[in-house]
Symmetry: C2
Amino acid sequence: MANDLPLRRTKRSLPIALLRARESVMGPIRDMLASSGVNEQKWRVLRVLQERGPSELTQLASEACLLLPSLTRIARAMEEDGLITRTTPDDDRRKTIAAITPAGEALIRTHSAQSASIFARIERDFGLERLESLLDMLEALQALPRAKD
Amino acid sequence: MANDLPLRRTKRSLPIALLRARESVMGPIRDMLASSGVNEQKWRVLRVLQERGPSELTQLASEACLLLPSLTRIARAMEEDGLITRTTPDDDRRKTIAAITPAGEALIRTHSAQSASIFARIERDFGLERLESLLDMLEALQALPRAKD
DNA sequence: TATTGTTATACTCTATAACTATA
DNA sequence: TATAGTTATAGAGTATAACAATA
């Protein structure tokens, strides 16, 4: 069996290239979050909730790229910190709806200027048009049909 | 202070878009690795070593997107499994050089056909030209100057 | 029976600092 | 003194399965 096909160079390996690109972008963002009291995961949860409004945990986990058991723990901690609320809707009491609180929104606002400045720098160095094109492609990549096998 | 600038939609947030895109690509690759006995991190180490040849741990950590303490542990385990060797060069005995073994290369070969097929599917669904263009941009993004502040 | 979320568990990675050996 | 790597430690995420409550 001729299964010793050479693999792509790692620079041209999509998973590795995506990871390395993310690592280079995350540097200044990690510095920002270090002074915020929330980690990357909690920041994503806040960002998704602010954008989408109150959300079921399953959907929230999917959009924030977290497993549901991880989100269960994270959401409990964030509720204790007053950043989100968790409620059970009367029409389906299996569900939990998470929602961002004013304190959570305030935390985002506190860092919005810094976040914008980090992004502006990338825009400047990378090029606005190219960046928009990259974001278009990343969005399209997410939308690809999931392989079944 | 007008620091309540609205943030980008999460779909247009570079860190989140990179993460979500990677998650959608990693699905079938995780399935592949599940039957290989190595996890994502060890797979990256093997891929980098196969490509670059024997490497110092600091450089290897950087290219495989791992912290050095993580790599120390991972490399020890991989050496025990016979996938890599670790040697101390005579000209600088502070260093450790890791190198892939024939068993490590065999492990990669075992999955090269499957890996190629996963990639071919993405090429087909996403478009070859578009994919190459995406990889170009990801490579360029990695090469951006690191922010200092 | 299927769905939603929680809990439990084992494993692993992350992040930081302290430490050793060598240069 | 600086560098390369290791060790230690605390914290957190990953992955899976089992479970409870509800539909």
